[in-house]
Each structure stands twice: as structure tokens, then as C-alpha cells.
């Protein structure tokens, strides 16, 4: 009851935070996808670069977000820029890894026939390999989105946008009556976003995966 009241009181705030949260995660996912897919494409055929890229993007994911935000504060300041940057860094690994895996799984006979038809590297990639790897790639993007929705909340430490503020303010007030409400509200907000994002992804995945390989 009390919680519902709280939600009612802060509805406007929550909506606003939700939009901000969605916006920054959306942007980060977009950028991470572009960069990640590009990195995957650039490296999936050669072992050394591939391992290198995976190691680096993997390392990103292990940098504690606090430390990273402090590191980024100097060059990028407070607010959304450091958060966006950090989210992109964190979001790369799933995209890169799944892009690489997806591309490497494509049936050689199909690639061979594409080669045989004179499709050049780029055309093979864009018309054959990527579409065939697409289910795996987009799964990576989906994972990234979910990971980032969570991490974005931590962006609150540098006053980033989104539900993090709610969660962290709540955290700072643990032991007071509003604390749980705040954390819960923020968390629920993220969850709602997650459901929405996932719905979108489900649709996108269905629409963008050829019926021929479903």
C-alpha cells in the first residue's frame, strides 16, 4: 500500500527517469552494436586480432564501474557523457563475442557458393554471412541491452540519467522508511524497461531473421 502511494507520488519523476534511462541505454546499445559488430567483422577470421579484441572488450567489463566513472570524470565530466561512454565500453563484449561466433558458424558450403558467384568480401559479409549469423548477433545485442540497463543505474554515481538516482538515493537512506520504496521503485522501473526492450528485440529479431533460417 505504502509503496503504491509512493509510486503515485513520484509517478512523474519515475516516468522522466525512465525515459532518460531508456534513452541512454538505447544510445549506448546502438553505439556498442555498431562498434562491436564492426570489431567482430574486422577480426573474426584471424586468430590473433580476434583474441586480442575479445580480451580487451572482456577487460572492459571487469573494470569496476566506480573506478571507471572516476576515471572518466576528468575527460567527460558529470552527467550522461561518462555514463554513455562507460556503457558503450561495457556493452561491447557480448556483441563482439556473438558476432564473431555467429560469423564463424556460417556453413562453408554457402560461403563457397557465394565466393563462387564473385561476391566480394563486403558483399559476402553483408548479404550472406551477416544475415546468416544474425540470430546469434542479435542475441548478443539483446544480452548487451540487458546488461547495460543494469549498469546504467550505477551511472548515478556521476549523476548520470535514469533510475540509478532513485536506487542510490534509496541506498543512501537505508534504515529510513523511504529507502526500500526508492530502491524498489527504481528497480521496478528498470524491470519495466527491460520488458519493453526485450519486447522490441523479440519483434526486431523476428522481423529481421529470414524465414528461411528459422
Amino acid at each position: 500500500m505504502e509503496f503504491l502511494e509512493f509510486l503515485g507520488n513520484r509517478a512523474d519523476d519515475l516516468l522522466e527517469m525512465g525515459l532518460a534511462h531508456a534513452a541512454i541505454v538505447g544510445a549506448a546499445v546502438l553505439i556498442a552494436t555498431v562498434i562491436g559488430v564492426a570489431l567482430g567483422i574486422a577480426t573474426y577470421r584471424t586468430e590473433r586480432p580476434r583474441e586480442f579484441v575479445l580480451a580487451i572488450t572482456g577487460t572492459f567489463l571487469t573494470i569496476p564501474s566506480f573506478a571507471l566513472f572516476i576515471l572518466l570524470l576528468g575527460p567527460l565530466g558529470l552527467g550522461w557523457p561518462p555514463v554513455l561512454f562507460a556503457l558503450v565500453m561495457y556493452g561491447l563484449l557480448p556483441v563482439v563475442r556473438n558476432t564473431i561466433t555467429g560469423l564463424r558458424e556460417v556453413d562453408p558450403a554457402v560461403i563457397e557458393s557465394a565466393q563462387g558467384m564473385g561476391l566480394n568480401r563486403r558483399q559476402r559479409l553483408l548479404r550472406i554471412e551477416l544475415p546468416l549469423a544474425w540470430p546469434v548477433v542479435i542475441t548478443g545485442v539483446r544480452v548487451t541491452t540487458l546488461v547495460l540497463l543494469g549498469i546504467a543505474a550505477i551511472g548515478a554515481v556521476v549523476n548520470g540519467p535514469g533510475y540509478g538516482e532513485m536506487i542510490f538515493t534509496g541506498l543512501a537512506r537505508v534504515g529510513t522508511p523511504v529507502a526500500v520504496n526508492m530502491v524498489l521503485a527504481g528497480t521496478l522501473g528498470v524491470i519495466v524497461l527491460a520488458v519493453l526492450f526485450d519486447l522490441i528485440f523479440y519483434t526486431v529479431q523476428r522481423l529481421t531473421t529470414s524465414r528461411g533460417i528459422r
Partner: protein, 400 residues
């Protein structure tokens, strides 16, 4: 001893393989071992050989999907062993052994791949796709929008052939393109191909395991042994009539003579004559003709000169009083003069009097083929093939 005597100018060499070798890592033997082969422009060269002898590997080296371990590939005079592979491949159509259709694209899109690459406009692509699908005997409206997995094996294979033809490439590599197709469709495709080939002379390298297909399609046949070493590289006629060695003889298998017959046409041999009478003639006339010949029946021709009846002495006796074209039996074994000797023989062996009647396009009687003609034809082919082989050998020429 390699002085080249004055011979007819050879057609331009389109594909020259020089000492081409491929060893797959982890294997002891070369899959292709020093293959040297000239393929002339505008010809269909059929590669046949035991399974695993390196045919596919050779094909893939020609368009550089597999890089040779050593050796050179010269395409239209240009060494393409190190040039841009994509450029090269776009000039070469390739029908892959496993069909390799793009599973995420519809059949229409698969077939449209190369035309799209070439930047054709949408309506031209569409009509080209429909044309190609029809050509391979698939109703465009039914199959255009299906995905590969929704096709039967033979349909997939045909779609693969249609796709390879999309860009109208000058050179085609076809790796068992008709292997999974039923005989009727296959024959239709073969004929279509030959018809196309007679119009626009592409250079085609064709792999098949069907010797009959090889004989039918090939301007030349290369019979390969383990490691793609050439057992014989020659015209189908020569291979059938003068196999270079036991391997070749074994490979073409039983019935070489019978096969050889399918390469010659009735019009190419001298026909035997058979006593004929006109339908308007009297029974007595027929009697007389029959008696003067050493045959047991006369052939009755209608007013246009078309075979109408076989009439034997018995028939004449029994059918006395009736017009000649009402008695006797209707000739079943009739072929046009462009039929092959094989067709003629097929009729002959089941025909009354063991003879096949030959007619021209308008159905007019030309003569007959009996076993003597066939026998003579085969024997003269043999002789000339052997004689030729001897000359070549004496000239010190190697097989082309």
C-alpha cells in the same frame, strides 16, 4: 620430338591449368597432382573420374576458392593465380556440388544474386529470374518465394543451376549439376543447355558421374585418375572408340559400342534400301517386287511417300483384293534421319524384320537401317579412330 607439324589452328585456349597441385594439410597425398590441361574457348569440357580423384578440388582451384599449393591458372591468356579473386569469380559461374543455396534468401533472391551484383534494374532482374526458373523447369510463381529448405533435393539443385546462370558468365564451372534430377527433367536441362551453348558459346567445365551425360554434353572429356592425373583427354567419339588404356575402358564401362552409337546420327550413314511399293500399286505389283527381292516383306508407301504398311507374302495372300494400305501391319520402328544410331538400333532390335525405317522431316521414306549398317558404322568409326591415334602417336603429339 615435340616439333609441331602444321595443323589446323587450334581454338583459343580459355583456361590453361599448368602443373596445378593441391595438397590438403594433414594428408599424405596430393589431392590434385600436377594437372596440366587446356580448355578451349566455347567448349564444354567434362571431367569424369573416380570419386575423390580431385575433380571438385580442380574446379575450386580454377576460381580460386581453394588456393593451389603450386602451379598456375591462366584464364583468357592472363595469369590469374594471383589477381583479385572476386573479380575473377564474377566472370565465372559456379554450380557447387552441394548446391549451397543461401538458406536465408528465397529462391528468387538466390537466383537474383548476381544480376543484383551487376546492378540490373528491378524489372529486368525479375524477368531474368522468371526466365531462369522456367528454364530449369520450375514454375516461377510457385517457387520464387520459397526458401531453399522448402524444396526437394532436385529442386534445390536446379535452383543452384539457375543461380549460376544469372549473370550470364562466359565461363561456367558446374560440379555435378544434374546429379539429383530425374531423367526427364535432366534431359530437358541438358538439351536446353546444349541449345544455349550453340547460341552463345560459353566455356564450360562440367563434372558428372553419368557417362552418358558426359558423352552427350562434352565437346571433350577428360577422364581423370587419382590425383587428377589425366587418363585420356579427348572427344567423346575417340574415347568411346579408342580408349587410351584399360582404366578408360573400365571407366566407360560395358556398352561402349552402344554408347558410341548415340553420337552418330542416322543421316550420317549410308542407308540400306528396301523394296517398296506405292499404296496405289496392285497386289500383283507387290508380289512381283517381293519376289524379285530377297526380303520377306515390302514396304508400302502412301501417296506422299510415307511408310504406310509392311506387307509380307502372307499378307498379300490373305488380303487379296484389298488395297495395299489396308493389309499387313503398320510400321512401328520408324525414326527420322536426325535420330541417333542408338535410337535406330533400339527400334531395330524389337522390330519386325529387324529393320528400322528411316524417314525425313516430312515423314517420307528414306531407306532403312538394319544391323549391317550399324555394324559397318561402328567398325568404320573404330578404324578411323585407331588410324588417327596412330598418326598422332607418330607425330609425337601428346593428347591435346
Amino acid at each position: 620430338m615435340t616439333q609441331t607439324p602444321q595443323t589446323a589452328p587450334e581454338p583459343e585456349v580459355m583456361i590453361r591449368l599448368e602443373n596445378l597441385t593441391k595438397r590438403f594439410s594433414g594428408t599424405q597425398r596430393n589431392a590434385v597432382d600436377g594437372l596440366t590441361l587446356d580448355i578451349h574457348a566455347g567448349e564444354i569440357v567434362v571431367l569424369v573420374g573416380p570419386s575423390g580423384c580431385g575433380k571438385t578440388t580442380t574446379m575450386k582451384m580454377i576460381n580460386r576458392i581453394i588456393e593451389p599449393t603450386s602451379g598456375r591458372i591462366i584464364l583468357g591468356g592472363e595469369d590469374v593465380t594471383t589477381t583479385n579473386a572476386d573479380q575473377l569469380r564474377r566472370r565465372i559461374g559456379y554450380v557447387i556440388q552441394q548446391t549451397g543455396l543461401f538458406p536465408h534468401l528465397t529462391i528468387g533472391e538466390n537466383v537474383a544474386t548476381v544480376p543484383k551484383l551487376l546492378g540490373w534494374d528491378a524489372s529486368r532482374i525479375r524477368s531474368r529470374v522468371d526466365e531462369l526458373l522456367s528454364m530449369v523447369n520450375m514454375d516461377p510463381d510457385e517457387y520464387r518465394d520459397r526458401y531453399p529448405k522448402q524444396l526437394s533435393g532436385g529442386q534445390q539443385q536446379r535452383a543452384g543451376v539457375a543461380r549460376a546462370l544469372g549473370g550470364d558468365p562466359q565461363v561456367m564451372l558446374m560440379d555435378e549439376p544434374f546429379g539429383a534430377i530425374d531423367p526427364i527433367t535432366r534431359e530437358r536441362l541438358q538439351n536446353e543447355f546444349l541449345r544455349l551453348q550453340s547460341e552463345v558459346r560459353k566455356t564450360i567445365v562440367f563434372v558428372t558421374h553419368d557417362i552418358d551425360e558426359a558423352i552427350k554434353m562434352g565437346d571433350r572429356i577428360a577422364i581423370l585418375q587419382e590425383g587428377s592425373s589425366i587418363a585420356q583427354y579427348d572427344t567423346p567419339e575417340k574415347i568411346l572408340t579408342a580408349p587410351a588404356n584399360d582404366f578408360v575402358r573400365d571407366f566407360i564401362g560395358g556398352g561402349a559400342s552402344l554408347k558410341r552409337l548415340s553420337l552418330s546420327r542416322v543421316r550420317d550413314i549410308e542407308l540400306a534400301s528396301w523394296p517398296t511399293v506405292s499404296a496405289a500399286d496392285s497386289v500383283e505389283q507387290a508380289h512381283r517386287v517381293l519376289r524379285e527381292s530377297d526380303h520377306s516383306a515390302v514396304l508400302v508407301l502412301d501417296t506422299e511417300g510415307r511408310p504406310a504398311r509392311w506387307v509380307g507374302a502372307d499378307d498379300l495372300r490373305r488380303g487379296a483384293g484389298q488395297p495395299l494400305d489396308q493389309i499387313g501391319t503398320v510400321p512401328q520402328a520408324v525414326v527420322e534421319s536426325r535420330a541417333t544410331l542408338s535410337d535406330a538400333l533400339n527400334e531395330l532390335i524389337a522390330a519386325r524384320y529387324a529393320v528400322t525405317v528411316v524417314v525425313d522431316q516430312d515423314g517420307r521414306h528414306q531407306g532403312v537401317v538394319d544391323i549391317e549398317q550399324i555394324n559397318e558404322a561402328i567398325r568404320s568409326m573404330r578404324h578411323s579412330a585407331v588410324a588417327e591415334a596412330r598418326t598422332e602417336f607418330a607425330d609425337g603429339r601428346t593428347t591435346p
